[in-house]
Assembly symmetry: C2
Homo-oligomer: 211 residues x 2
């Protein structure tokens, strides 16, 4: 919860900063991405070019904040999708399924994820640290068979990126089916039998609606 | 086999073109990648800036040729690594292992692969079409259990990219071990038992030496 700034001037400054972050988040989801110019950002935020530097030292500083903002939204969407789930295999499957489905439900988050690419794995925000934590727990409890958690997370992220690429280049594929099949394939990699992996990956999914 | 150009002028033109392609291949493996300027390319190739357009209509045309050249080398390296192998599971494992090991044995090819990214999946050259062909055959023979070949190739490529990222950010990891473990994990995904996948992924590897 953000504190409400005390004075009118502070509130106006906070609004300008938020408008710049929002604009950067929007631009992240476009092909231009972080190549956008500062004037593109201030135009979209409808603030004067000069006021940019009252808030950020550089374009890259703003984009770092914007990326963190989007990744943290992804993390909260995941938390929403997994609320109340007890089975670590189902938690993992839900994360994979809701992430691939974000192409449709939250395209801005999905595009930003693509822009960030594998640097996503190194971020303290978003899905990567949650996946790391949950796969460690799933291995510790014996539910999944994972020798190297970092490799498991890297393979999961890579497989997700690969399937997003596939979906973007073959419009005959159905996002939900690919999402379920990918979750099942990864659970098979992590030691479930094919039929068990399939069952877990087809349980009702609480697709998050948060924006 | 390329034909030997007939006249001295033609031979000189062929040498200039080859020098430009070589320079572009070298630049592809640098962080600059396809952002390099035409003058960077002609300087590196040691040819006059003006002669560039005698050979290529644009920088992107040259880089397309360079990328094809590197991907085709990757394909031939794979062919060398798999020569004489009969077991489709071992062929797949050898492809994964030799590709990850290219970080060490053929860093230029490995860096180019990263630059190309998932567009690699759509290229008629290189490993993607070979992986597609071999996984189809492995599934048809019953050796591997694969429902959707395109997804299997996309997951394999993604997992390879993810593990390359991991190796680049954690110098305590050993490339050969990660390569063997990744091949075993993917074979588990494709229906082998963990112990069988492990055995197949630790057979002697004919790491190619071609350059």
């Amino acid at each position: 919860m953000q504190e409400i700034p005390a004075t009118r001037l502070e509130r106006r400054k906070a609004r300008t900063r938020a408008a710049l972050v929002d604009a950067a988040c929007d631009l992240l989801a476009t092909p231009q991405g972080t190549e956008a110019r500062i004037s593109d950002i201030t135009n979209r935020a409808d603030v004067g070019l000069g006021s940019f530097y009252n808030h950020f030292a550089s374009k890259s500083e703003l984009f770092e904040v914007a990326i963190s903002t989007v990744l943290e939204l992804h993390g909260r969407l995941f938390d929403e999708a997994c609320a109340g789930l007890d089975d670590p295999a189902e938690v993992f499957a839900a994360g994979v399924r809701m992430t691939l489905r974000m192409r449709v439900t939250h395209p801005k988050v999905a595009h930003t994820m693509i822009q960030v690419g594998f640097r996503y794995l190194d971020s303290p925000e978003g899905l990567a640290p949650r996946a790391y934590r949950d796969l460690e727990a799933a291995a510790a409890s014996g539910r999944l068979d994972i020798d190297n958690t970092a490799m498991a997370v890297a393979c999961t992220a890579g497989a997700l990126f690969g399937c997003i690429h596939l979906l973007e280049h073959d419009s005959s594929l159905d996002t939900d089916s690919v999402a379920d099949d990918l979750a099942a394939s990864l659970l098979t990699m992590f030691g479930l039998t094919k039929s068990e992996a399939r069952e877990v990956s087809r349980r009702p999914l609480n697709q998050p609606t948060l924006t």
